[in-house]
């Protein structure tokens, strides 16, 4: 059985059997958890009155901050109350929790809860919603960040060309299909009970920690189980814990099972999003378009609390170079504090925001020099000057650089050159007709080839660890548990494949069990594209430990090696034990030279399932827990230098768009994507990740627009007004391919992570739009196109 082509998870999806949180059978005494949240963006809580609400039939309990033991949590720093106590800082901040027998009672009670909040229009006390106002008020979160290399000021002065600009990108709603959901209940135990939670979370360990801390429990009193999520995309990395804590509070206080499932509108209104950024830049370059110096000051809109904003900003800084060598740079960033829901992780984690800035600059340079943007990209690429321009602004060398191969191959396979010329001609013909007042089907076309290089590893080095538990049972069947959570990316399938490879057995003998803090302690979130890297590696280590015990057992029993001989490599090396096709065979290497294939001097060939049984009776330990930590990485925050990434995943995309000049609507005519995923762990799964990530990126740069009222309330809080890509928005032609790269030896089976990098390739649709408008409208020098480029923006730019 080829472990790289396993199909498994979707079998229960297509029959509707897959159980998500709200599909769990309700306990007969289960309570509905709901809450009242702040209706204003900023203010002081004067009074909370829930007397009337308590009288509502079916209401079992009403809880405020007073009911919480430690009322503080946070993705990194615990700066956020679980229930607001003295002040509120965004619309949607939970204040009062209602526990009721049914939804109607909860709704009724919510209406009767009165929260008196005093707001102020005084500067310094009034709400702040955007980056500019936050800058003006010096209202920031966390600490400023900076990465510097070379002498940017001096080189900017001597550069043949320089220009300054401002670039903005909007946020993005995750729109995971399953909203934030948790079921929590107390469970009896011999030496005290435990609080068990089923949560739709990418980070069960954090749910465990936040819940324990909030309720004043020890971590061993809380268990969090995650079977699967209906999508995560980063939105359930930090923020699932907050809502899990509200359900836990009710279960703990009432003693009854509690279920919290956010409605779609609430989920969109009150949870964090991808960060909007506003960046001020100055770039210096030569006549050919080679970048000599780059100065950027980024501001991200962090929302009300820190959440993961610090690490996200850092990744944005790290990715300002995308695929390009920048010899002199000073890249700085600050997190604007605003009275919006705390913004959070979202696929790419700041990377897309950083890359968008440099790609916009490249388009601007090309425009100013009247060149094809691809030529600008090519001459700035890493790896041109015999290794001299291989070092990033943070000091890491770009090894195993496939960028040139990727661009060369995709340029050819997509017929980029020919189509670029056709697009130019197309636009010219339309333009001429308009000039001559002829009837015209007003369309314009744009095409863009864009590479991406994305750093793999958590930039917080300590998170790059994981553990796995492998249990082999006496019939040869196996359960594997790791800290990886399954959200559709098929990490369970990849883990299953790795373990099946290690033992050389059919994957049907292996099950990956629901992720639980009970089995895997202190795990990292399934995030940063690293879920498979870390957890497959840990599972590989655990399985290998058992495999070695089984090998030793075979050598003792059948090759008659003594205990002492087993300790010596010299004796052991004479023998080979192979696990293949469900069988284990043992042969002597020395006799093997006679290469009589059939006999091969096997002294023993035994079925894996039989061997396991024998090993059990010989009292061999068939369970193992193992650890993995990513090697080679380090980063010094003081100098902002180091090697934060184990390796880079790279790729390139060519996107061609057609814009309707009358309406501003864009359609994607064709997309070609070429990715370097090392030796892919599972090609079909990985291509699925590429297609999905790309289209999510396309949504971010085109139709997904968040709009807020001047009070700070999200107006686009359902799919009626917030438009994620539809099946009709997919490219008319869509080719996805992988290159062969067997040089990425640092990661499990030579593979590379895939989750986030292709998201950034969606930006190629935006650069194609920008190029199209520029190409069509040559005097659009002040084309300040933002992300997303909505139909309205495009029409106004034309």
């Amino acid at each position: 059985m080829d472990s790289r082509n396993i199909l498994d998870l979707a079998y229960t999806h297509v029959t509707g059997e897959s159980e998500f949180i709200d599909d769990r059978l309700k306990f007969p005494n289960e309570l509905v958890v709901d809450f009242v949240y702040s209706p204003v963006a900023r203010g002081k809580i004067k009074k909370i009155d829930f007397k009337d609400a308590l009288q509502v039939d079916g209401v079992v309990g009403i809880y405020t901050h007073k009911d919480i033991h430690h009322n503080a949590w946070g993705g990194v720093v615990a700066d956020q109350p679980i229930l607001a106590a003295t002040e509120v800082n965004y619309i949607g901040e939970p204040v009062v929790v209602v526990a009721a027998e049914n939804i109607l009672s909860a709704k009724k009670a919510k209406k009767l809860i009165k929260i008196e909040i005093e707001t102020s229009e005084t500067e310094g006390e009034s709400k702040i919603l955007d980056i500019d106002t936050a800058i003006k008020n010096n209202y920031f979160l966390g600490s400023p960040q900076k990465i510097e290399t070379g002498d940017v000021d001096a080189v900017l002065k001597t550069s043949p060309h320089t220009f300054k600009g401002v670039f903005e990108n909007g946020g993005q709603e995750h729109f995971y299909f399953e909203t934030q959901s948790t079921v929590a209940y107390l469970k009896d135990g011999d030496n005290g009970g435990v609080l068990e939670l089923h949560s739709s979370s990418q980070h069960p360990t954090e749910v465990q920690h936040v819940v324990a801390h909030a309720l004043g429990l020890k971590q061993h009193q809380v268990v969090c189980i995650v079977k699967r999520m209906g999508g995560g995309f980063g939105g359930k990395e930090a923020q699932a814990s907050h809502y899990a804590a509200l359900a836990a509070l009710v279960a703990y206080k009432s003693g009854r099972p509690a279920r919290l499932v956010l409605g779609r509108d609430d989920d969109m209104k009150i949870t964090g999003k991808r960060h909007a950024f506003k960046s001020f830049y100055e770039v210096g370059f030569d006549e050919k378009g080679k970048i000599l110096a780059l100065k950027v000051q980024m501001y991200s809109n962090g929302g009300a609390y820190l959440d993961l904003s610090g690490a996200i900003l850092q990744r944005a800084l790290f990715h300002i170079d995308n695929a390009y060598y920048i010899p002199n740079a000073r890249i700085e960033g600050k997190i604007a504090r605003t009275n919006l829901p705390p913004n959070t992780a979202f696929r790419g984690f700041g990377g897309p925001q950083g890359v968008a800035i440099i790609e916009n600059i490249i388009e601007e340079i090309a425009m100013k020099l009247s060149k094809n943007p691809l030529d600008i990209r090519k001459i700035n690429l890493y790896g041109l000057d015999q290794g001299k321009n291989d070092v990033t602004i943070y000091g890491q060398t770009v090894k195993n650089n496939m960028l040139h191969t990727l661009i060369r191959d995709i340029e050819e396979s997509s017929e980029y050159k020919k189509r670029f010329k056709e697009a130019c001609d197309f636009n010219k013909a339309v333009k001429d007709k308009i000039k001559n007042k002829q009837k015209v089907d007003f369309k314009l076309r744009g095409i863009s080839l864009m590479p991406v290089k994305f750093g793999i590893s958590f930039t917080a080095t300590f998170l790059n660890q994981g553990n796995a538990l492998v249990n082999v049972y006496t019939d040869g069947s196996i359960q594997v548990s790791t800290g990886a959570t399954e959200m559709g990316q098929s990490v369970y399938t990849k883990i299953r494949g790795v373990v099946s490879d290690v033992f050389g057995i059919d994957y049907n003998l292996i099950r990956v069990m629901p992720t639980s803090t009970e089995k895997n302690p202190n795990t990292s979130p399934t995030a940063a594209s690293s879920g498979a890297d870390i957890n497959c590696s840990a599972a590989f280590n655990a399985a290998s430990m058992i495999k070695e015990r089984l090998s030793d057992f075979v050598l003792m029993k059948y090759a008659k090696l003594s205990r002492e001989e087993l300790q010596s490599n010299a004796a052991k090396n004479k023998w080979t034990v192979e696990f293949e096709n469900g069988e284990v065979c043992c042969f002597n290497n020395e006799n093997n030279n006679e290469n009589d294939s059939d006999s091969k001097n096997d002294i023993k060939k035994i079925k894996f399932t039989d061997l396991v049984k024998e090993a059990y009776f010989a009292r061999i330990n068939l369970g193992a827990q193992a650890f993995y930590k990513t090697p080679e990485i380090y980063f010094d925050p003081l100098t902002a230098k180091g090697q934060p990434f184990l390796y880079f995943t790279q790729g390139a995309a060519v996107s061609e768009v057609e814009i309707d000049g009358y309406t501003g609507n864009t359609k994607i005519l064709r997309t070609d994507i070429l990715m370097d995923l090392g030796k892919s762990l599972n090609e079909k799964i990985d291509k699925g990740q590429v297609a999905g990530a790309y289209l999510q990126g396309v949504g971010w740069v085109t139709t997904e627009e968040l709009r807020y009222s001047d009070k700070g309330a999200l107006l686009t809080h359902s799919p009626t007004t917030y438009k994620i890509p539809n099946i009709q928005d997919t490219p008319r032609i869509f080719n996805i391919d992988l290159i062969t790269n067997d040089q990425n030896t640092v990661n499990i089976y030579g593979s590379k992570a895939v989750g986030e990098p292709p998201f950034l390739l969606g930006i190629s649709v935006w650069t194609a739009i920008k190029w199209a408008i520029n190409n069509f409208n040559l005097n659009a020098n002040n084309l300040n196109l933002k992300i997303p480029a909505t139909a309205e923006d495009i029409l106004l730019a034309l």
């Binding site: 297509v14 509707g16 998500f20 299909f177 799964i685 890509p725 139909a791 029409l795």
Partner: protein, 534 residues
Amino acid sequence: MNTNMKNRDYVLLYVNGERKIVKGENIFLTMTDYLRDILHLTGTKIVCAEGDCGACTVLKASISYSSSSDSDSDSDSKFKFEAVNSCIASVHLFDCSQVVTVEGLRGLLKRPLSEKREDERILNPIQNALVTEHGSQCGFCTPGIALTMTEMFVNTDNNNANNDCNKKSKNKNIDEKEIKNCLTGNLCRCTGYQGIINAGLHVANDKNLLEVAKKSLDVYQKCEIYKDLEQHKNIPIIIESASKNFYAPTDIHEAINFKVEGIKADEKTYVFSSATDLGVQINKDFIAPTRILSLNSISNLYEIKEESRNGVEGIILGAKVSLSRLQNFVRKKIPELYNFLFVFASPQIKNMGTIVGNVANASPIGDTLPFLLVMDATLIIQGQNHSKNHEREVKITEFFKGYKKYDLAENELITHIFIPIVELSNGAVLKLYKVSKRKDLDISTINAAYLIKFNNSDNKIEKINISYGGVAATPLRLKKTENYLLGKVLDQNTVDETIKLISSEISPISDVRGHASYRNQLAINLFKKFYCEL
């Protein structure tokens, strides 16, 4: 069973082939809640609760109420399954229908609980292809996708039989375009849709799989079920629960009487035709109807036919005619409308929603309204005058009186729309446009309709009707612009003048779908686009 009973106090439906009698409060549940909470069929998911994502898709097949001869109600005792959004539809709207959920797609095949390997499960070919082509990642949208796609394959044969044009060879009639059109109402956030499209193509391109796929729902084509429902369809339903009054009469006059009683009792009567908008408003707690009138059992509201009215050739259709049936009906008669309806909402909404509902909802941005306005459609309204039922007609151009206000009294119901098509037969050209942030399954930023006819000899404009939606509190006819254009030759200079007039006649507002200036620009541009496309 007593089929002569005067009224029933229950709703009758079949879920995955099982007979269900639903009484009391439960008939007001959304179908999704009924499936998930009462029947514990949790494969049907709720994502948006407003019919905008398709995760709640179920297949619905009603028995035929219509005696008219439109092409899609061909056979007398065959169920035609259609994908609908179960999250915005109350259980009572499924009266005399069959429902198939994702659990029912496994049909009557039993999967043994024993040590079956998962890749040996018995699935229908579409389900299987969704697995093998990686059309499912997190799985939350998957049940809806599997059902919608199954419907597509099952119904392709029907389409084929009725529609000769635009179809390729028989077993190749499902292509990428068709798949995309069918799945417009199913969002997926994970896959980028490639695996889903490939799954469809995989089945479509394999003759054997295709044949099996087409029979996916055959297990539900049962005469005894049809007969059972048929025996119930003419029995009115009256349900008085603790908090609500429900009435589903079989006669329009009874319906009016129920409304009149409501006025007397000072209680608002909510009219449920397909309730694709009311369902959303209930879910979002905007309304909580206590007095409900369902039009579901009134058979003459299902008719759609060509008719000559006061000597004018046209189409007449009843209040229960779904947009899908309309779309099929006008495929050859009004191809522009047929094509336009592809960007109207989703198949799921079109299978439930009606054009009369689009009118009665009176949104300034209702997508069929500019069309009806330029066609000079007439509404046929049933009402009660001095305790006597009577019918009156209102021109749609005079119907809308202000934002969500119109010429319809509390004791009246729109029963039919008459759409004159005589101009189209006489050489007039109809053009329909819609602009939205996302092309498909989106509410329009603005929409427009133009009906134009040139004089054959001098090429001057002989007739011109222009209507815009989303540029004022009601959909508008642009009378000044029309008057200006009459008798003119349409050239660049005329266009330049026209767009000035258009701007002067509209007064768009800014909202989340676009700023006023953008809407104004779009109104102008759509006319330019119309001009070039003529």
